[in-house]
Amino acid sequence: MSGAAPVAFQAIFANALLDREGPIPAGLGAPAPADPRRRFAVHRNNMIASLLQTLAARFPAAAKIVGPEFFNAMGRAFVAAHPPRSPMLACYGDEFPDFIDAFAPARDVAYLADVARIEAARTRAYHAADAPPVSAAAFAALPAEATDAIRLELHPSVEIIRSRHPIVTIWAMNSGERQLAPIKNWCPEDALVVRPRLEVEVRMLPPGGAAFLLALAAGQPLREAALHALAECPHFDLTDNVAGLISCGLATRIIPAVVTGQPR
């Protein structure tokens, strides 16, 4: 007998799964000559191997950049620090990019966490709510004088990742979207992740584009959002950016300006 009540038995079993070097729970048996420690190792291995597989499936570009040995070592440290809190493993690894930022052995690969941020956003976009984008025709039908004051509701899948590194290029080269090649012009890039319909897309935003979209996402009207973008990039072109936004399917609703001075 283990001597423990079932609830205590599960606590002991659970702790022994997490403390991988520790002793195994009392009361585990296997027919001779099998070793109960070897049998318990099946459960220890099921957990860690399946979670490393989950991380590798969610962060393939990050895994490719550092190689499987480094990635799995980092993954083990992550699993130990952040074991899953939900059986919905699609969300497992949301904290992985921040963990990479703080993971000393990965410090030399300064862009790794931002690549992981794109990959984490891709999974969230994959599972985000469906919403049909606003058509170009619906936008074109707005009276010209009304457009400045409208607000746009962005697609639920939209995420923006701003980086000090050429993050979209690095991601694309490590996920088969572009050929691996030396990056001659090492400059900051902002990534847009969106799934307007069924395909998740990763795009590089033009200068000012991230500030513009973040302002729209915060509920600012087009005119104010454009001012944010202009403050960052004097060449920001509102017409081009709005056209791009509509054609990429980023907007799901046009919210007309509230007319002030009129009885509600």
Binding site: L28, N46, P83
Partner: protein
Amino acid sequence: MSSAFTLPVSAGVGFKPVHFRDILAAAQPVGFFEVHAENYMGAGGPAHAHLRALRERYALSLHGVGLSIGSMQPLDREHLERLRRLCDRYQPASFSEHLAWSSHDGVYFNDLLPLPYTPQTLARVAEHIDAVQTMLRRPILLENPSSYVSLADSTIPEVEFLAEISMRTGCGLLLDVNNVFVSCANLGGRPHDYLNAFPLGRVKEIHLGGHHLDPADSAAPLLIDAHGTPVADPVWALYAHVLAIAGPIPTLVEWDNDVPDWPTLRVQAEIAEGLLTHARARMSRASAA
């Protein structure tokens, strides 16, 4: 009440998104598809688009892997609520879960962990199944686990434990024949004894899957329920044995790792369908005689 919640008596396949195009390209000789409920709990996107398309064409079985019914701690109400919404949305022909636990103190272990079989754990599992069936407004199926260790605290044989749970709660049973083979090999039992004692009248679905022999342990054979290979010959034989006793039962082929191409997986379902056809013929001969 239970007639609305039955799978077609035919062979089904565990759905993998990589097969989606192949499956939709033509009518498949498959009675139903089964999916892991936890993979369809996001808000939208391709996962739901796939499931909608499958559900329009085939019967659907939802198979949970994360409810932790065997936990001594309370069920995760949020997870149960997600399951309810999924069942409401897709109206599956069946919902099944495992006699196992997978969460403790909020940590999810992503594994099916063993529990001792005692009057106390039996009462707890029955209570959890009552709660799930009340929440989902349907009887569920409970699956026998694959075991790697025996637990000294157990006082009730697994088959009796499952039979008693089924009797107390009205839940059906999901008999995983591969799990029987794996557990017996690992713990030293005889699969035929296990199956002959099993309450086959309560079995509403059978699972078949592949296992492999762990190469690290040559002194004592250790089988891993890995679902990464075809169904093994001795498991097919045990399956035929079950059908000979119980008659035809809806049967699922599971292949979750190193997933093969669709034709390879379909062949597994066709073998099961062949054995089901044989069992049907035998049954009609018996009833004609």
